[in-house]
């Protein structure tokens, strides 16, 4: 069933190495006897190619320009690495359940990997010996409920569901009640993919959040925004708008096993200071890692 089960770490390394190579190609090219300005310009371009964005890339490189007078490529690279590391390190924060039941609500635009990340998280928590309950809050997309149910089967945890087309608020209500009465350690709520620009759908999400909070004060404990690493500048809009509407408490960055670099997470971390929790590096249950700023930066520059 699993497509090419890779040892988790190996696939992460491979994914990050690819990212690394793609960028390093540019960086190395930059250091072949070029002038200081050329080096800086090329560094900036390599950042842009990783989706960090023009604004953040030039800000970071301008800072470098001011900090360091020389044209030693190694030193410039090191400084660049450390300024990005500083931004990301501040955002590095694993997701650790602190309450019981600990309620996680996954959200994000269509197809980024919410349901899969939920399956992976359920697998992680289950293997840590916690009891996990899932809630099929995507009542809109065809077979979204069944997809989550199959994850539940695979991982071995129960799934609260209603019929397709049902009210996500009602499911959230049922799920929180069930998590409390069954004394579940973790409840993870799936939600339908929605574009951050669709106000009515964002309102629906707010309502789900309100219901959860009403049934269990303090919940949801984590509003986990799932972002796709292959997304470009739009991810910043996604993070901004969802954060304004819902209050995002953590980010999971998926699909880092591809060639996309996920650099957009840098301006997101810099501007919004949202903790980056997890990265997705494949489609299997084990392809979920805690975000590690050092590893990420080493792969990036």
């Amino acid at each position: 069933m699993f497509k090419g089960i890779k040892a988790g770490l190996a696939s992460l390394k491979a994914g990050l190495a690819r990212t690394h190579n793609a960028i390093m190609g540019n960086v190395e090219a930059a250091f072949s006897g070029a002038s200081r300005e050329e080096i800086l310009e090329n560094l900036e371009e390599s950042l842009i190619l990783s989706d960090i964005g023009v604004a953040a890339s030039s800000r970071i490189v301008d800072e470098l320009r001011g900090q360091f007078a020389g044209k030693d490529p190694e030193r410039l690279k090191e400084l660049l690495r450390s300024s990005i590391y500083r931004i990301l390190k501040e955002a590095e924060a694993p997701l650790v359940p602190t309450a019981s039941p600990f309620v996680i609500m996954a959200l994000g635009v269509n197809g980024v990997g919410k349901t899969t990340t939920i399956g992976k998280l359920a697998s992680r928590y289950t293997s840590e010996g916690r009891s996990v309950l899932l809630a099929a809050g995507d009542t809109f997309r065809a077979a979204a409920i069944e997809q989550l149910e199959l994850w539940g089967e695979r991982v071995g945890c129960q799934v609260i569901r209603q019929a397709h087309g049902g009210d996500p608020g009602a499911i959230a209500f049922d799920a929180v009640r069930a998590a409390i009465s069954r004394k579940s350690d973790v409840l993870i709520l799936d939600t339908a993919g929605r574009l951050h620009t669709k106000t009515n759908l964002v309102e629906e999400l707010k309502k789900v959040k309100r219901i959860v909070g009403r049934e269990l004060p303090g919940a949801p404990h984590e509003n986990l925004l799932v972002l796709d690493a292959s997304t470009g500048q739009n991810a910043l809009n996604q993070a901004r708008l969802f954060n304004e509407a819902i209050g995002v408490t953590g980010i999971a960055l998926t699909k880092l096993d591809g060639t996309a670099k996920g650099g957009i997470i840098v301006p997101i971390a810099g501007e919004l200071k949202i903790p980056i929790r997890l990265i997705g590096v494949g489609e299997s249950a084990s392809d979920l890692k805690d975000f590690d700023a050092r590893e990420f930066v080493d792969a990036l520059i």
Binding site: G4, A142, L195
Partner: protein
């Protein structure tokens, strides 16, 4: 919010008028703005560089025509070049073979399954009898997802449940399609990474079985710089025939489309604009060009106006604009249409990043103003409405009195009307680019 690119051009090129032509030195700043706009729209950096070089070549030495400002002239060069590169004219589906097969490929979560159902709806609407084949044996509930969408679309769907291999599904589905006489087959495949050799090989095998006349690369319009790699990867492995761009109903600028087009040379054929199975549009290069450049989706605006206007009225209006016989009577009609369409803000808000949105309060025409204008026009004779040039001072005084307004109001309206005619003339000459200016003039 981004400032409109055409506004920036206007600013950085405002000095050019004196020189009379776009030159290497005077377009540098404008080219920087183009670069920035394209990068912010997620066009790949390498593609941006090629594009800038092409635009520079096209723009250099261009005389600034009397009726255009240098900014407008440059805007036109950029927009036209982008439109040309994005595809020139609209691409159509190639349906050859017995039965013709359309195969959908792409990265995970890009929208293949949804697009399969959308295409079925699209083809059914054109009198075809499509057959949907779910060949994603990997993703949990992927087969069920497509079965449900197919039944929603009232299109037959191969029952892949119970199969474990996609090649077996494809072979059997093709056999059945032949027997039952479907006249096109739409095959959904599992999402995969272009660097996953085993899975790319599987795709090649499926293609060998299906012999599709279309292999559509389904790509997310929010994709960033990596679009060049994935599009190239899929194209070189399986040979795609076109691109379907999904999730364009958000605020993504869609620059990835240009990256994909430039690196593969394959046309963009469809645009997905929603989750529902009827939310598929045929691709229009100039619309996307406007969106990438953040210059406003002029055509959509015009279409919205048309939808409210009714087709006949719209045609009539277009005819009048073309023939330059737009009268004050028509102007009055236009104002009423604006009332019907909702506020100018709501129209402009359809345009992502449209800089006028933030100035919308300036653009806003309030109800009172429309009423005043209507009153003024109502106080005119038919001759005056059709040929306002006869409005001398005494006629203006009479009209002001009759409409309970001041002569200055009448004068203002006449100026607006003249401006509007000018803008229309420009629209005629440049294919719609003047719409924004037109709206601006109406404040």
């Amino acid at each position: 919010m981004l400032e409109g690119l055409s506004d920036k051009f206007r600013k950085v090129l405002k000095d050019v008028r004196g020189h009379g032509a776009l030159s290497d030195s005077n377009i540098q700043d404008a080219l920087k703005e183009v670069r920035l706009a394209l990068l912010e729209a997620d066009v790949n950096l390498v593609v941006v560089k090629d594009f800038i070089a092409a635009v520079k070549e096209k723009a250099l030495g261009k005389e600034v025509l009397g009726s255009l400002t240098p900014g407008q002239q440059f805007t036109k060069v950029v927009h036209d070049e982008l439109t040309r590169l994005l595809g020139g004219s609209e691409a159509t589906l190639e349906l050859k073979g017995r039965p013709p097969v359309i195969m959908l490929v792409g990265l995970q979560g890009s929208g293949k399954t949804t697009t399969a159902a959308k295409l079925a709806v699209h083809l059914k609407g054109r009198g075809r009898n499509p057959y949907i084949v779910p060949a994603d044996m990997f993703r949990l509930a992927a087969v069920l997802q497509l079965k449900k969408l197919a039944s929603e679309a009232r299109v037959d769907c191969f029952d892949s449940e119970g199969y474990s291999k996609a090649d077996a599904v494809c072979a059997e589905a093709l056999r059945i399609a032949g027997i039952k006489g479907y006249d096109c087959v739409i095959v959904d495949t599992a999402g995969r990474l272009h660097i996953d050799d085993a899975l790319m090989d599987e795709l090649k095998t499926l293609k060998g079985i299906l012999k599709p006349s279309e292999v559509l690369f389904v790509a997310d319009s929010m994709t960033g710089q990596d679009a060049v790699n994935t599009a190239k990867g899929f194209d070189s492995a399986v040979g795609v025939t076109g691109v379907a761009l999904t999730k364009f109903d958000g605020d993504a600028r869609g620059g990835a489309a240009l990256s994909m087009r430039m690196t593969t040379g394959k046309p963009i054929k469809f645009v997905g604009v929603g989750e529902k199975i009827d939310a598929l549009e045929v691709f229009h290069p100039s619309r996307l060009a406007g969106r990438i450049l953040d210059m406003g989706d002029v055509l959509t605006l015009i279409e919205k106006a048309e939808a409210t206007l009714g087709e006949k009225e719209a045609k009539e209006l277009q005819r009048k604009i073309k023939k330059d016989s737009f009268t004050l009577e028509d102007f009055k009609g236009q104002l009423q249409q604006i009332k019907k369409m909702g506020s100018i803000e709501s129209i402009l808000s359809m345009v992502p990043g449209f800089n006028a949105v933030k100035n919308a309060k300036d653009v806003k025409i309030d109800e009172k103003e429309i009423l005043r204008v209507e009153a003024i026009i109502n106080s005119m004779t038919m001759k005056e409405r059709v040929d306002p040039s006869c409005l001398n001072a005494s006629r203006r005084q009479r009209i002001a009195k009759g409409s309970g307004t001041k002569v200055s109001d009448v004068n203002k309206l006449m100026n607006q009307y003249q401006d509007m005619r000018k803008m229309m003339k420009m629209m005629r000459n440049s294919g719609g680019r003047g719409m924004k200016g037109l709206l601006n003039r109406m404040r």
